[in-house]
Symmetry: C2
Subunit: 393 residues, 2 copies
């Protein structure tokens, strides 16, 4: 049975097109001086920026902006934001963008009250007692950062890309408006969907017994992503597709699906190094790594779970020997990632060779708490990780 | 597609055997003077009462007790509790018991700051702005009241048993320890399980489109209850069975499964009158009414949903005509309630005849917001409700 656990998710969600009209109410409730964080300017093109400024004015808040957050965000920008907050007396952070923007905003929120480098907090050298309040407006269905307590950020000096979890980082309020994701390109929609699938697989593929119904929920979310992602790719402003992906993305990586299970984030650890060194989209890295990881993990003791996945998620008929069923499940998932989501299949397609594999593997196993072996669905040593990277060439 | 909605569930859950050892931390955080609410004394027999008193002492709180809450709790006891809180300066309520105890505690918490009758609040004549903080320790897996914003209570003068929903009623903290349900009898375990199933069916059986993954989660919870309830009935201290039922019970009736869907609580409205007039266990009333309601609701426009239920929950093979598949699903559910849960099949088994059916049906359709017709999976007029009651004789 699962270990004891605490479930506590304070984030208030407004879900639905048009719900952003409540933003000024929440802004007025949570702060007086706001820092708006966003990315490369797509929110200026699609009108979201203007709506946000209007709501900030309506709430009577003053404040600052920090823009130019790029995918695979880095610590220096967050450090700059934290300094700006300290000096400007900012008491509320508003993030509008994808996971990179929201995670940068979380690191700013969590390190404003600390004078040193935010990296000290990310690697748990220092524990944050408080953070500045955070409100988010996600513009992509992917990381689920808008309802969880985690931020992923890169140290550009060491090329380490780590996740930082702390309860104080959880947003106070998030506005999930499917319309804010209509302009996401088919490629980015595919990357985001691969990310959601990976979050679910990282928790679902587990040799610990969990709750039956939580397993069923994860299977249903995977089926939902498989159904709606291609529709959203083909028709960007398909409300139902965007809404399903948006609601799935937050519950896919949330305290509920874990419910006391230990999760090692095997593929995420390997992917973070890929995107930290080569700056590729996170979801794409996961889409390349996941099939290789599953083939590597296939063995007697993982067969029951892989068969359950094949049957309940990938629709494989439960007949023939178990290994065949499991392999068919992995094949169908691979086909979905390559053909339906149209994502590149190999690292070599991205001009990545084996030069850095050893160094990346070292970083993976030195992630806090791993102690030299990633203890996930199957244990992964440094050599195993290099082998999986090589299988992706 | 679903309507816009707000999701916000503030309750902090401690889940697992032994987690009650954290109670004193939460008591100290939330209050100084506590009112302990419990039922007929079973918590004194099984040792839970002593553990709670120890934790209250450890937290250094003083306070009062109110006991004797009975199933189908009534307003006068809650009014007495609210008066006690006002006069004694109580700032925290601690409920230890089943849904009746928790709901009574909620009504006390919500009406302490109001001098009139709590019934004014239940029928929304007055809106509560604040409530006293509430911590709960459920001793049964059934109503899910420990994580939602609703309380069900009876007016013994008018025989109206209504639900009262208000955000301020939501518990601050709940301790879900499966061990606290080990001594629940097989009959009460069956009633609780029928209640969980009914909560899910009330939301699931809906002609509005919802989220795919939420449908899947509800189906998985129903399958989980069907799997674990008989095991918990046969072996009271089966940790895994009790834990699954406990975690399902809170998520079965929670803001997440609704996620923007409108729910009319058709069977619950009819059942509340049964237990208000005849004082039968709520879950038993639902177990008798549900099959009759489903047979009544079966028609062309409800076939798709009833077939989905039959196939995905009751394991009916998807062949033959849709009506046959739907009927088979209803039959299997009925058999589960009667034979596996061993619950009485008919109102006449409980010495209930048709004398009060008209009066009860009048109360059902006069529930706030119904305007004469219950607009659920299928619309129910007064005559329809009488017909369903009669079909249960």
């Amino acid at each position: 049975m699962v270990d004891s656990f605490i479930y506590h998710n304070r984030t208030k969600i407004y879900f639905g097109n048009g719900e952003l009209s409540h933003l000024h109410e929440e802004l007025a409730k949570w702060g007086t001086r706001v820092l708006l964080v966003y990315g490369g300017g797509s929110i200026k093109k699609n009108g979201l920026y203007d709506k946000i400024v209007e709501e900030i004015d309506k709430a009577g808040l003053s404040g600052y902006e920090i823009s130019g957050v790029k995918p695979n965000p880095e610590v220096p920008l967050a450090a700059r934001g934290a300094r700006l907050c300290r000096e400007g007396g900012v008491d509320l952070i508003l993030a509008a963008g994808g996971g990179s923007v929201i995670d940068t905003a979380k690191v700013i929120a969590g390190s404003t009250l600390y004078e040193g480098s935010p990296w000290d907090l990310v690697v748990n050298k220092v524990q944050p007692e408080k953070a500045v309040s955070l409100i988010t407006i996600p513009t992509m269905a992917a990381t689920g950062s808008e309802m969880n307590d985690c931020a992923v950020i890169t140290n550009p000096v060491t090329h380490q890309k780590y996740g930082w979890s702390a309860e104080v980082l959880r947003p106070r309020v998030s506005f999930l408006c499917p319309e804010n994701t209509y302009s996401v390109s088919p490629f980015q929609t595919a990357c985001g969907s691969a990310d959601i699938l990976s979050h679910l697989l990282e928790v679902y593929l587990n040799q610990e017994e969990g709750f039956d119904s939580i397993d069923g929920y994860m299977e249903a979310m995977m089926r939902s992503v498989i159904r709606w992602a291609p529709i959203a790719m083909a028709e960007g402003n398909h409300e139902e597709a965007r809404a399903n992906l948006m609601w799935d993305s937050v519950w896919a990586i949330n305290d509920l699906v874990e419910s006391g299970r230990h999760v090692a984030w095997s593929c995420h650890g390997m992917e973070h190094e890929l995107s930290a060194f080569y700056d590729i989209p996170h979801g794409l890295g996961l889409a390349i790594l996941t099939p290789a990881f599953l083939r590597f993990a296939l063995r007697e003791e993982t067969l029951p779970r892989l068969c359950q996945f094949a049957i309940n998620v990938m629709g494989v008929k439960n007949k023939g020997d178990r290994e065949k069923v499991a392999r068919k499940g992995i094949k169908r998932l691979t086909k979905f990632l390559r053909e339906t989501l149209e994502l590149p299949a190999k690292l070599s397609d991205l001009s990545i060779d084996e030069t850095l594999f050893e160094r990346m593997a070292d970083n993976v196993i030195s992630w806090k708490g791993q102690e030299g072996v990633v203890q996930g669905f199957v244990p992964l040593t440094k050599e195993d990780i290099v082998e999986i990277y090589k299988a992706c060439l």
